[in-house]
């Protein structure tokens, strides 16, 4: 689903792209954003969870405490920042969360598993557009201990469950150059209680599919071969993940939220600056990263399209 141009978090601040720790501190600390696509995306999420629960939700027993903390935190955040759409009432340990957009409510007794039918993170995720991941902060590293993941960009939650932060990133080319990923891990380990940091990650998706898990790659990966100079603008979408890292104060674990946005190139090129920045980024993209992001298969068509558009608009770089 493409988002409206005004809500699209365009990721490029410079003309060239290199992996960097492009994180910034968020004030106030937030994990969640509601966009105009809320209803459609929640419906899609729930269909995916219904049809493929194991693919979209996984957890280790050790994550339960942080899952409770994350759910309460997310509901409180929604009630505070979007108070016309959500509310949260508390009496002792009894909570009632109301979602007025969906006309639903969740009642639970905090930390009492018999009071809920699904695991806490699995409940919370059904009310927000974000994918939600819990990274347990253990003495020997950060481990992926729970996740509700409906809209991944070509990775498998089941495979990475229980894995450590650095090993999760093995497939990313050059990620260990200059100790990059170890530095990122140290950065995360120093995030303070209640602090939230935000960064953007980008890739490209053919079609406006949010659900591109590795598990169905054999179906959607083929589309990359179907890009032609005629359909680039319509088929190719810039995919941006707004990722937020929040330190949960009770358990000291990290709540990692991923909000995915898609924008077709036809919409993107309406903005001259975005067009220029995308063009230079793609042009200078190293071959291994283009390969990793799946762009290599249609890079020529993409470059030609962007050059043609720049010319038509009479823009120079």
């Amino acid at each position: 689903m493409s988002v409206k141009v005004e809500q699209f978090p365009f990721p490029f601040t410079e003309d060239r792209y290199a992996y960097s720790n492009n994180s910034s501190l968020l004030k106030p600390a937030r994990s969640i954003t509601i966009t105009d696509h809320y209803l459609k995306e929640i419906q899609l999420k729930r269909e995916l969870l219904q049809a493929n629960h194991k693919r979209c939700f996984r957890s280790l027993p050790i994550s339960l405490e942080s899952q409770w903390e994350a759910m309460r935190r997310i509901f409180a955040e929604l009630a505070q920042s979007e108070s016309e759409h959500f509310s949260l009432e508390k009496r002792g340990n009894e909570y009632r969360f109301q979602n007025h957009l969906l006309g639903e409510e969740e009642r639970f007794t905090y930390r009492d598993s018999s009071s809920i039918e699904l695991q806490p993170l699995d409940i919370a995720g059904r009310h927000v557009q974000e994918d939600l991941i819990i990274m347990g902060d253990r003495h020997d590293g950060l481990f992926l201990e729970a996740g509700q993941l409906c809209f991944p960009s070509n990775w498998s939650l089941t495979f990475v469950l229980g894995m450590e932060f650095k090993s999760i990133h093995t497939p990313v080319p050059g990620i260990d150059q200059n100790d990059f990923i170890s530095k990122v891990e140290r950065f995360i380990s120093r995030i303070r209680l209640n602090e939230a940091w935000e960064r953007k990650n980008w890739s490209m998706t053919i079609s406006n599919m949010l659900d591109t898990p590795l598990e169905t790659y054999a179906n959607w990966g083929k589309l990359r071969l179907k890009v032609t100079d005629k359909n680039v603008g319509e088929m190719v979408h810039l995919r941006v993940e707004v990722q937020r890292l929040l330190r949960l104060p009770m358990t000291n674990d990290i709540l990692f939220s991923i909000h995915t946005y898609l924008l077709s190139l036809n919409d993107l090129i309406q903005n001259d600056l975005w067009l220029k920045r995308l063009y230079t980024t793609i042009q200078f993209l190293s071959d291994d990263i283009a390969e990793y992001k799946g762009i290599a298969l249609y890079k020529n068509e993409l470059i030609q399209f962007l050059e043609k558009t720049l010319n038509e608009k009479g823009l120079s770089l």
Partner: protein
């Protein structure tokens, strides 16, 4: 996999091919935890380089090898001729004999014997194992091959 733990060594040099790098790194982390000094080396291209690395190791070192059978044997030979004794050299045979390939399409873990393509026993898709290794599943992630 049996653990490599010899108490009278203080220093371990780990040779690995690119494909076993994450396993080798995991192993290095474990060795470091039990107090060994560790160095991970990507399998050198020439025998000379490998010999140099082996001869500069201090006394009381051990050699750990992750790789296909051929290259593992070469390093083993070089280590022996550089003065290491048999019990100071350890080849991760399990990595070669019973590797596990995680089918990224249906999640079945297949027994595989190399990094060659294989077909998943459950969903019959053609898969290519990668070096993405999970110590939790004890398996390598295998990606689908699209023609």
């Amino acid at each position: 996999m049996t653990e490599f733990r010899i108490d009278n060594i203080s220093h371990v040099v780990i040779f690995t091919t690119q494909s076993y790098l994450s396993q080798a790194n995991d192993s290095a982390r474990k060795q470091t935890k039990v107090g060994h000094k560790c160095e991970v080396v990507i399998m050198p291209n020439t025998i000379d380089e490998a010999r140099q690395i082996l001869t500069r190791q201090p006394l009381g070192s051990g050699v750990l090898i992750y790789g296909e059978e051929d290259s593992s044997q070469v390093i083993e030979h070089l280590a022996l001729s550089a003065g290491f004794s048999k019990h100071e050299i350890w080849i991760n045979k399990s990595s070669v004999d019973n590797m596990r390939g995680f089918c990224s399409q249906c999640h079945l873990i297949n027994e595989i014997s190399s990094f060659e393509f294989f077909e998943c026993e459950n969903c019959h898709i053609k898969l290519q194992p990668s070096n993405h290794y999970s110590t939790y599943h004890r398996a390598y992630l295998a990606y689908p091959v699209i023609n």
